[in-house]
């Protein structure tokens, strides 16, 4: 998996529905708003620029009418951009010929639909094999690959049923199997789980992540559910009124929302599952060196008005904590360093640990929770008050109108 390789690149892509699209784009570029160009056409996507890296799950998140469905349909050429370019590999979907476009759709990009879009008159197997049928794959091979795709999504044994006889979750599994059978590098998922019950939805999300860990596809996932976006997305693009207002990881969007809109949006998210230790931690000021001697340690504690300190060595490797009384004893004894009085701290957490896992260690002691990376180094601390702060952003924002009302 080459992290930095770009699979999809959009540069200033516009989509305006209506007869005078080009004129609308010109005005939008010179600063007109979406409402001002309304008489010229409906601007569904405005100046979208982003890159999707190979092997990542890129989530586009927005409410209905934000342009996300149009955006995803521009990524496989179902809609051509009115202006700007969209590169899929080496092809610019804005200018590619219709024949080449069909070729790209057959070989490079497949799609999963919100309402499954299965062919009701064909069996599950025939549905899963449909892209291969279009590709002109021989029948026997078609069957084999479709069966394999169905097995991957857990539908082995259902191949002879018709979609009408399946539940919603199973139908979407057929939709997913169909896209997997096509064996393309890019997978577009348009609100793929939105029509499912919450429990089934969670199950499908987990299954998708599991499949993704072995298949390593490039996935563009559209959703209006922020929790889903946060759960699935390596990176998330937030869309509002046709524009992408922020692109970043779940944490970046939660902790540094680009504007009030995003801030309001993320207000409802269960932060404890998304925010990790590394995003809420603070630099630890009360750190003493294990080889520095008791006198130095006492002075550091005194300066910070602290009754305890974290102990590291020269390489910032974490050794534990010391209390002021223990260090005082060490000084009286005339110890040269702190190795005799340092107590190992069992509460240490990894930088990637979600906040929900920090509460318990935080409750055990008044000291901040130390955050220790894979190399055993102390990278920061999470004071208890910081946990409450991070949580309280939710409550303070809850008082503002909900995101639905603000549209």
């Amino acid at each position: 998996m080459t992290e930095n390789h770009t699979e999809i690149r959009a540069d200033g892509a516009y989509k305006v529905f209506g007869r005078r699209g080009a004129e609308a784009v010109r005005r939008l570029r010179s600063g007109s708003t979406r409402d001002e160009v309304k008489p010229l056409g409906t601007a569904a996507v405005i100046d979208a620029s982003f890159e999707v890296r190979k092997g990542e799950i890129f989530v586009v998140m927005g409410l209905s009418g934000s342009g996300k469905s149009t955006l995803i349909r521009m990524l496989n050429g179902l809609w051509r951009p009115t202006a700007g370019s969209i590169h899929l590999g080496d092809d610019d979907l804005a200018t590619v010929s219709p024949a080449r476009l069909r070729e790209i759709r057959r070989t490079k990009v497949s799609m999963v639909f919100q309402h499954f879009a299965l062919l009701p008159h064909r069996t599950v197997l025939e549905n899963a094999a449909y892209p291969l049928e279009i590709q002109g794959v021989p029948k026997e091979q078609r069957r084999e690959r479709a069966l394999e795709a169905l097995r991957l999504v857990g539908l082995a044994g259902w191949e002879d049923s018709v979609p009408g006889a399946l539940s919603g979750g199973m139908r979407q599994r057929v939709g997913l199997a169909r896209a997997l059978a096509a064996d393309t590098d890019v997978l577009l998922m348009d609100e793929a789980f939105s029509a499912l019950d919450p429990l089934i939805r969670r199950e499908m999300q987990e299954q998708l992540l599991e499949l993704q860990s072995s298949l390593g596809k490039t996935i563009v996932f559209i959703t209006h559910d922020l929790n889903e976006a946060m759960f699935l997305g390596d990176r998330i693009a937030m869309m509002r009124d046709g524009r992408i207002v922020q692109i970043g990881t779940a944490e970046q969007i939660l902790s540094e929302p680009a504007d009030d809109y995003v801030a309001q949006f993320v207000a409802d998210v269960d932060r404890t599952r998304v925010l990790t230790a590394s995003s809420v931690m603070r630099p630890s000021r009360v750190v003493v060196s294990i080889s520095g001697g008791p006198r130095l340690a006492l002075r550091t504690m005194e300066e910070n008005a602290a009754s305890a300190a974290f102990v590291t060595d020269r390489n910032r490797v974490f050794h534990g904590t010391v209390t002021d009384t223990a260090v005082l004893d060490a000084q009286r004894r005339g110890d040269a360093d702190l190795s005799a009085v340092v107590e190992p701290d069992t509460r240490q957490v990894h930088p990637d640990a979600p906040m929900s896992e920090i509460f318990a260690p935080a409750a055990e002691s008044v000291l901040p929770v130390p955050v220790v990376d894979d190399g055993g180094r102390l990278v920061g601390v999470v004071p208890r008050v910081r946990l409450l702060e991070a949580m309280s952003q939710t409550t303070s924002l809850d008082a503002t109108p909900s995101t639905e009302d603000s549209l």
Partner: protein, 287 residues
């Protein structure tokens, strides 16, 4: 008293238009007359030549195949009644006319409907034409047809085809436009050509609606071929016309009842065909 201030001679325009058509396209009309005439003669031969019970059994068998033995039994009773009313030959002439007219009307209507479904401009142009074809009083069609094709089966057939075509176009367009947008998109998204999408997605999913159109076409064709009796088309229509001109209640009723029996038979068979398709079954299973 209500004399027009200005008399716009639409009538004479129509007349000269028909005159012009007749003289300009006489070759084409002669060709149409030969083709339609022989098609009708051929089918009529097939239906009237064998003993009546053979035809009854075949039609009943068809009813059994598309629906049930009950419908087959109903068919036998109805057709035997026609025979015992001494309307058998007339009914078969009418059936031949209806079938020929329906096949040709659909051969034109379905492609036009597909075109209209795929192209908004075509749809806009066609709509008023269909309105005109459907609402113009049926007898009005017959006048120019007699001028062009003289009397007999052909003018009746052509008038019937034009009159019955409209619902075929409308239902085909409606059926295709009703197909779930997302399913069509799925075909496109996996790189299917538009021909493949039409064949494998749009037409199968529109079958039910198109079959409802076929049913309407047949019903309109049946009503029109009866009127075509006025211009000398053979069949039940000629007896109805005769009964009308001689105030013969008995004959009129018998011919009329035979028309009803044929209508019910054709209606039930075609609507059963609509629900027999694979898609219709899948849709029923899903709901």
């Amino acid at each position: 008293m209500n004399d027009p201030i200005i008399r716009i001679p639409v009538g004479s325009w129509a007349e000269s238009a028909v005159d012009w058509l007749t003289s300009t396209f006489s070759g084409l009309f002669a060709f149409i007359k030969t083709v339609l005439g022989s098609a009708y003669e051929g089918l009529d031969q097939i239906l009237t030549a064998p003993p009546f019970w053979v035809v009854v059994l075949v039609l009943a068998g068809l009813a059994w195949w598309v629906k049930s033995w009950k419908m087959a039994l109903g068919t036998v009773i109805g057709l035997v009644l026609i025979q015992t009313m001494n309307q058998w030959d007339n009914a078969m002439h009418t059936l031949a006319l209806v079938l020929i007219a329906t096949v040709i009307a659909l051969a034109i209507a379905v492609p036009v409907g597909i075109l209209a479904a795929r192209n908004d401009a075509v749809s806009r142009v066609i709509r008023p034409v269909l309105d005109l074809m459907q609402t113009l009083p049926a007898l009005v069609y017959l006048v120019p047809m007699v001028l062009i094709f003289l009397t007999g089966a052909v003018p009746g057939l052509v008038a019937t085809i034009i009159f019955a075509m409209a619902p075929g176009v409308r239902f085909t367009e409606l059926g295709i436009r009703q197909v779930d947008r997302e399913v069509v998109e799925a075909g496109e998204a996996f790189g299917a050509s538009s021909g493949r999408i039409l064949r494998q997605i749009q037409l199968p999913l529109a079958t039910r609606t198109i079959m409802a159109g076929v049913n309407q076409v047949i019903m309109l064709a049946l009503s029109m071929v009866v009127i075509a009796g006025f211009v000398g088309a053979a069949g039940l229509g000629s007896d109805v016309t005769r009964a009308l001109s001689s105030i013969n209640i008995g004959l009129g009723f018998e011919a009329g009842l035979a028309v009803v029996i044929l209508a019910v038979y054709l209606d039930r068979v075609t609507s059963a065909l609509g629900t027999r398709s694979a898609v219709a079954k899948a849709q029923t299973a899903a709901s």
